[in-house]
Symmetry: C2
Subunit: 448 residues, 2 copies
């Protein structure tokens, strides 16, 4: 019943494209889900993809194009004329259309919009283009089904019939007054089961959760997640119904967030994937490595200041990695706790002072436990009481400082509008290395 995408299928299709075997192409792709066609065409050259799409229904082509990943899409759009693109845009949902138009230069964008014939589509697109991509207005589509509160069920069904072709997934019909103010919603099931002649006002519910156009996408995700919604209506500041966000867009946002966080935590500075070019992968990875390197040279200078001491007591050098590694691990744990808290923020959060006191308590407990262990190990291994005391003392300080910096950095980043996950990346590690080294050698300097 389900189509199994395979490498063999792609090879066969490629062969048919090479031979221009149109009948074979059309027959093989008949009934195949557009998401599978997209995945296959992402492996093809742009010219071959265009050839395949030209043989399919324009609706299927539009779905394929809206599903392409950004890299492929850009290559793809280059070989199409504005006229061709506008044919696909014509049958796309308005949110997908705007996403694609945003990839293009202003003049090509205008050419495409001018080539559109459907005035309603043009209005929708122009309206959506006013919003930033990362707010509710930028996520929403204009296509939705709404009913006036004074309509009967029959009028509403007529509207569903009329609008049905434009709206791919209907979960609820939104209910508005004469001024397009959102009043509530009514489920398709209720409409289906209602008696003839029933008025919408008698069956709709006013318990509808909505977001405003300027709400940030993170907030939209968290509202839809909290209330288990499959779609959410978007209103403007005066409560007018402007559009609708569906759960598939929110799922995409969540996947992007996870990817972004992964990149930030590992110090990858661009949106790259394993199959990108060697050059692109290097470019994405080198910046944070260089920053780390520079940080380490500061560390080297710092250690250099204590060279005489190292010559006198060379065991001191042995514990350098212990101090830096533990500091790094503690800082990353701390910042990841905060990132998690920020991701699931609740109105019932403790005050900042209370949170900080707790961080200090946990850090002291962790620090003392680790120091006890470190003292025991180092004394057993080296039989040097003084150095063991230096290691234990500086380790407690380092754990405490790393906890504080790991806690405070993401909070500050978040306040500055920067993704707090960046705090769990190489930045924190590098800064903590320096901090740890300074503490360690200062303690050694004063105690030995």
């Amino acid at each position: 019943m389900t189509f199994e995408l395979s490498k063999e299928f792609a090879v066969e299709l490629q062969r048919a494209v090479d031979k221009q075997d149109n009948v074979f192409i059309k027959n093989t792709l008949e009934g195949v889900n557009s998401a599978d066609i997209t995945e296959t065409l992402e492996e093809f050259s742009s010219e071959d993809s265009r050839y395949v799409l030209s043989l399919l229904d324009v609706e299927i082509g539009a779905e394929v194009i809206s599903d392409l990943d950004d890299d492929t899409l850009k290559k793809f759009l280059k070989i199409y004329s504005p006229q061709e693109i506008s044919e696909y845009i014509e049958v796309m949902d308005s949110d997908d259309a705007v996403d694609i138009l945003n990839e293009m230069s202003t003049d090509i964008r205008e050419e495409i919009i001018t080539a559109l014939s459907n005035q309603e589509k043009i209005d929708h697109i122009l309206d959506l283009m006013r919003y930033a991509e990362d707010v509710a207005g930028g996520l929403m589509a204009k296509e939705l089904i709404k009913a006036n509160v004074n309509w009967t069920i029959e009028q509403t069904i007529e509207e569903i019939r009329r609008q049905g072709e434009n709206v791919t997934q209907i979960y609820s019909v939104y209910v508005v007054d004469n001024y397009n103010t959102l009043l509530g919603k009514v489920s398709l099931r209720k409409i289906l089961l209602a008696k003839d002649g029933t008025k919408i006002k008698d069956v709709y519910t006013d318990e509808v959760i909505s977001v405003q156009t300027n709400e940030e996408e993170e907030e939209v995700v968290s509202v839809m997640k909290k209330y288990d919604l499959e779609a959410i209506p978007v209103i403007n500041m005066r409560g007018k119904l402007m559009g609708r966000i569906t759960i598939d867009d929110v799922v995409d946002v969540m996947a992007e967030q996870a990817e972004e966080e992964r990149q930030l935590m590992s110090g990858i500075s661009e949106d790259v994937e394993e199959d990108d070019s060697i050059w692109l992968l290097t470019r994405a990875r080198i910046p944070w490595l260089v920053i780390g390197l520079i940080g380490s040279f500061f560390g080297a200078e710092l250690i250099g200041q204590f060279e005489d001491q190292i010559v006198l007591i060379p065991i001191l050098a042995s514990f350098i990695p212990l101090i830096t590694a533990t500091g790094g691990n503690v800082a990353i744990q701390s910042s990841s706790m905060i990132v998690q808290s920020l991701a699931t923020k609740s109105v019932f959060q403790d005050s900042n002072l209370k949170r900080l006191l707790k961080v200090i308590a946990v850090a002291l407990l962790n620090g003392l436990l680790l120091s006890l262990l470190a003292f025991t190990f180092s004394y057993i291994l080296r039989h040097n009481f003084e150095v063991s005391i230096v290691v234990a003392t500086s380790l407690t300080c380092v754990v405490l400082l790393a906890s504080l910096s790991g806690t405070i950095t993401p909070i500050i980043l978040d306040k500055l509008g920067i993704n707090p996950a960046a705090a769990s990346g190489p930045f924190i590690t590098t800064a903590n290395d320096l901090l740890g080294l300074a503490v360690y050698f200062l303690v050694a300097y004063f105690m030995l």
Copy 2:
């Protein structure tokens, strides 16, 4: 139109609970979404929550209980009698019911099931309890609407009316034959717009994507994401319709996955949150810190072997953090690239050999660039040509080795059924510290 949850609301409600002001409690919570009640009650004591819920409809109570986070739920269930729990279970969706039953000991579970009066619910629960929690069967609910392919639209609407009360969200009606084999689906919209007397067989589509009961939850997430589905039917090996998974469960799975990955990457060994107790937070954080500490002691022993050399050329000690930090950063970048690839796996992936060659190419390019920089910096700062060459040479080796270990570890973990994100955590850092130190001092030993 939407209710704004606030701290003040919680305080007022708490006051009403203390005064047992039932009228106030009922009035304030009238029409409040159950998700908001859940969030408020998570701040209350179990006894107070129970008191509030006893005043509300059992349906609302059931929703609140199914939404509680695991910690609160456990505390909560302790103070309820099996009889009370069974009243809530009676009105819950089967998947939520099973999640709660799984939290309890076998004998209490049996007591609760025995107390249920609805035989269909009992059958559903017993059926679902056969599946592991992390496969499609463990995610699905038994509640769904299905129609026989030979039915008319009127019969189907009658079924929707009959089943409607049990099924909270209807997206599609699933179409089956006389033997319950899944044949396809028909949208509510099509049913709404169909003429009287139409047969299901004339309006349903056989293009329905389904998953099998034993499919892993990651696979379910990726299928629903790829095809933008809001619900997916679950079939057994013989194609019989067994249940349905809705997108809200998938969204929860995605959020859990992100949280798990964050914890693995930062070396937190338990599912803790910032507001857990100091003891719990320490317990979750200390294991990986201790493992890192033990690793660092191996490192200390390793450096100890080269003490004579450090006494002769104390600058060598300065570059220890440079080697370990760069190795760690490179390894985490590499493993995070693999984790991302594994998360978005495609059938068109390159062969392992080709992937490995690419990793080596990127590593060499990164390694050479960094070494060139490191050589320049260290020569400018220290004017020691030999040591600068040692640093540059060992850095290239370390970047290469760290790339390889960072690439191979997550692949091996994934093959072993362990979450590959664990490779981006303290394990890789600790292992790479040791590897880096060994390379650095061996290069120094042979070159100086």
